[in-house]
Amino acid sequence: MRNIFTLAAGSVFVLLASGHAHADTLRLSDMESLTGVASAVYVPQANAVQLAGEQINAAGGVTIGGVNYTLQIDQYDDRTDTSAGVATVQKILGLGAPSFIMGGGTSSISAAYSPIIKDRTDVIVMVTASLLPGLTDNPSIYRPRVTSKQYTDSIVSFVTGNPEFKRVALGVDNKNAGLVNEVPALKAGLLAAGVEIVAEEEWGSGNPQFATQIAAMSRNNPDVLVLRGYPADVARLVKQARELGYSGPIVTNSGMSATDVENAQAAESMDGVVEVVAPVVSDLIAGDLNKEAAQKFEDAYQARFGTPSGLLSVSAYDAVFILTRAMEHAGTTTDVPAIKAALDVLKVSDVPEAVTPIKPYDGDLLFKDRQAQFVTVVRQWKDGKFVPLTFVK
């Protein structure tokens, strides 16, 4: 019996002690698609959030309103499932106010939980993946991440700037809501510049075979194929296009990495392929843009996780610094309206740790209507890797 009392007393002591240890802990909830169809993209994003938290803690934490806080990053898996995503957000909200959610899930998931948080004044979501238009109309959502519209503008600028591209064949992932929404704008931009659209094809994410789409696009003798979708799909598509005899120029918008190309065994088919995308770390290093910060990030990421960073890693990494810096400026971790106000006036120069090339708005502001804007990169596959041609600033 005495042992039971000892055990109980010990448990109570441990509980109390652990409670005390967390008194100056700032909890950030990181909601990611750690399993399910989108996990390949989201796991590197979750890793980057974790890395940012660890680096901030290693540097002594973050001081807000005179109190030093240690970051605690709690990971949640939305399983790439809309209902599970909504349940995850409810679970996080149920932990008690205020709630700070990083990552924010896929386009479908972010659209599904958006109504739940719209009228709440105790939550901030830092969306670093979903390209869904209109998402930042929600006053609780900030997006330090490129939008599909910025991609569209960059592609239109690149294609219309090339006098050889007069006949374009378009291919789009029809399950990528952010990209599908941009099809009318992309077409309008090309048509306005006198470019003819000779074919329009689509596919679903994860599709292993693209012969039908490639045949339909190439039989119209386009000057260029413009392909927009997830990296793995686009890499497979390029490979199959070359195998099926299409030898013309290809412009993609996918965020492909060398690993994606390698996994699709598409390296031999990729020579000359031009990609227009938000720069990933390797682009920044090769193109000498934020090179030092990018290299530092990549070294730390690879040392911690043993793999190269992913498409969304740096956006997610930066988001942690952006949010904590806004809290520092606001001097509070609990007054969410004050933190939002600080985010609204946060300047790009306030976040020197940011790796992504953020394009400031007037007055060096980082956000306008809760949306950030970014430099994009035009890069070309040469000798087994992407080489930046130019940055669209």
Binding site: A84, G94, A112, V180
Partner: protein
């Protein structure tokens, strides 16, 4: 007079009440998710559990209800009650129209045909942009305003109120299914499941019964879709794909108990709650989840609903051993 399983209903209502009293958004969301899957699995239980037809396209009717609700709410400004009444009728009519064509085949051929219905529906959801919003889906589905019943006000715009609506629908559907299983109609469906030819030999037009079962299933799935659309307030094609809905409903039924009354509820509870309570690394969790389902299927091939019978059998086993004659004495070595 059919025997009523009061204990089951008491436990279910108590569980529903406990979630309501807990009141957290998370608990209510999990509760509503369980109820959605329970109702969808009950819908699948009619053609699969009672009739023996592997309906792999129920997600199409689930999506039909959801998109119908979304379209009526967002584009036509109709309140919840309109799609809740209209979409089941549309689901039943479409099922009754398709049924006579595809119910001529059965087994894997029927499963493949219904799979094709799901694929067609998925294509329509993705491509009929004017109505479905395409891959972007339909946002802005607004839940109804508070309803006043004398001194009681149910605010359906809040999770707690909408949860109560789900409880009412689930209980009503469960009670209906308990009654339906005892009807002469269901008896004929069981006859079809056992031997279609023999049932016809008894003078029953089995096609009518099969089409009826298919239409009931379509109506239930569409109604569940309406509830889902107003629950999640945003719809896009993914949740209605084969893997996300039809297959999931099938797994729930297989785990819970095909043809049983409580199987859909037990299966939906396990499938929904298990990933939430397994506090493991995501990849380990997925494997653990799969392993648990495997164990359930292997040791309870008739589903969780047969667990009571399994325990009773296990309890009787020692008793049988006791009455067995004692072994003959071994001769001394």
């Amino acid at each position: 007079m059919p025997r009523i399983d009061w204990l089951g209903y008491v436990v279910l209502v108590a569980a529903m009440a406990a979630i309501y009293i807990n009141g957290s958004g998370y608990a209510l969301t999990i509760g509503m998710t369980i109820m959605i899957w329970s109702m969808l699995a009950i819908g699948l239980n009619v053609p699969l559990g009672l009739t023996g037809y592997y309906h792999m396209g129920i997600g199409a009717f689930f999506g039909l209800g959801a998109y119908g609700a979304g379209f009526m709410a967002v584009r036509l400004g109709q309140p919840l009650i309109v799609p809740l009444l209209v979409m089941p009728v549309i689901g039943a009519v479409i099922s009754a129209a398709i049924g006579p064509i595809i119910l001529r085949i059965r087994g894997l051929h029927f499963a493949t045909a219904t799979l094709a219905i799901g694929m067609i529906a998925s294509d329509v959801m993705n491509n009929w942009v004017a109505v479905t919003g395409g891959p972007l889906g339909l946002a802005g589905i607004v839940r109804p305003a508070p309803m006043v019943f004398g001194p009681v006000t149910i605010d359906l715009s809040q999770n707690s109120g909408f949860y109560l609506l789900g409880c009412a629908l689930t209980l009503a559907l469960l009670i209906w299914f308990a009654w339906f299983r005892t009807t002469a109609f269901a008896l004929v469906l069981r006859g079809i499941k056992s031997d279609d030819l023999q049932t016809r030999a008894f003078g029953y037009s089995t096609m009518r019964y099969k089409v009826g079962a298919f239409a009931i299933s379509g109506a239930i799935a569409a109604a569940v879709g309406v509830y889902y659309a107003f629950f999640i307030q945003y719809i896009s094609p993914e949740p209605f794909s084969f893997a996300a809905s039809s297959f999931q409903a099938f797994v729930i039924l297989a785990v819970g108990g095909i043809g049983s009354l409580w199987g859909p509820v037990l299966g939906a509870t396990l499938i929904t709650v298990l990933p939430e309570v397994l506090d493991l690394q995501p990849q380990v969790r997925v494997m653990t989840y799969g392993a648990i389902l495997l164990v359930v299927i292997v040791f309870l091939p008739r589903g969780l609903a047969s667990f009571g019978a399994y325990l009773r059998r296990a309890g009787r086993a020692p008793a049988r051993e006791k009455v067995q004659p004692a072994p003959l004495e071994q001769p001394a070595k």
